[in-house]
Symmetry: C2
């Protein structure tokens, strides 16, 4: 199972690393990080993640995973990336995204008329790009699987793990990662967070 995680400068690290940590543990999985030009990509807060290959070297992954992050805005103008996404999607078994990675898929025309999701602050933009935007954590529409903001990629990858390899394998990966979440607050969605928290986050977003 060849899996390509797309990188670009300004990607959000956890968008990529959360699902990577799940998918790389699946039987027969081979995960590579790829970018238009290989090398170290700097995430939105500075961590360097290495893209080991160029996208053009891995034209036909079985699973493609597109993370989001502020760099998505510039990545929308990367014609080589857009063309690669279209070609890879044409033969992929699963085309997936985390957070605003769905905007890259939608911008390439790959989510038109499909149910899909994104970071809660980007759902309007996702709809403008032609998707049927829904505020759910993981959305499966055929072989297109999109997930909500940043941390949602972990849940998405476990969902994929179960669909690809069954519940036993997916649960074993979950246990290996000790993914038994217990956040000290219950503020992870705009429906659950206090209004002042929602307003604070919205006021700091370029998408407010």
């Amino acid at each position: 199972m060849n899996i390509v995680v797309v990188l670009f400068d300004g990607v959000t690290a956890l968008d990529a690393v959360g699902p990577y940590e799940v998918l790389t543990r699946l039987p027969g999985a081979s995960v590579v990080f790829a970018a238009t030009e290989p090398g170290v990509k700097r995430t939105d807060h500075g961590l360097g993640l290495t893209a080991d290959v160029a996208l053009r070297e891995v034209p036909a992954p079985e699973v493609l995973l597109v993370p989001g992050g502020p760099g998505q805005v510039a990545a929308m103008d990367d014609v080589e990336l857009r063309d690669w996404l279209r070609a890879a999607d044409a033969t992929s078994t699963w085309t997936t995204s985390v957070c605003t990675g769905s905007l890259l898929l939608a911008g390439a025309g790959l989510l038109t008329g499909k149910r899909a999701t994104s970071h809660w602050l980007a759902l309007d933009e996702l709809a403008r790009l032609g998707a049927v935007a829904v505020a759910e954590r993981v959305v499966v529409d055929g072989r297109h699987v999109t997930s909500a903001g940043v941390s949602a990629g972990i849940d998405m990858a476990l969902e994929l793990a179960g669909r690809m390899h069954g519940a036993l394998v997916a649960q074993a990966v979950q246990l290996s990662l000790e993914y038994d979440p217990a956040p000290p607050y219950d503020a992870g969605s705009p429906q659950k967070a206090p209004a002042e928290v929602v307003e604070l986050v919205r006021s700091r977003s370029p998408r407010r």
Copy 2:
């Protein structure tokens, strides 16, 4: 607030990136990734994470974060790392770990007699290294904060965020990351996972 995340070859990516994604969003936070020798470190499944500085360049962080992973075994023998941990811990505000990172802290003598945790498969080893090992997701003993396997670092970092900056800031970070976990299975701890899943994971571990 100077925060140093320790890297080494064979680290588990999510151990480092989960809490990084939280801590880097805190007001005034400056996070650097550091290793005995700087450069690209390869995680246990191959992803390259960049250590931008040498440990010796950042001798006195306010927060130090030690991730785990299979590379922890070799890192236990890194005398420079051990000495750095001891010196950094002497002046840190918070000394923290994720997963088997606590074994590195314990191996340096920093958890002796303290309540601490680790990946569920490593609790016995943690106890042998002198800590009072407990099976909890996040353990705070004074200024030493340890967390369970891999994904638990996200919860630990949110706990730290609240203690350092208050609930409003911590909740804002949680909402930014849309950390409203909804795993499709409930198998994230050995108490919750089916027995056959626990046995499968245990049988594949070098710590079984």
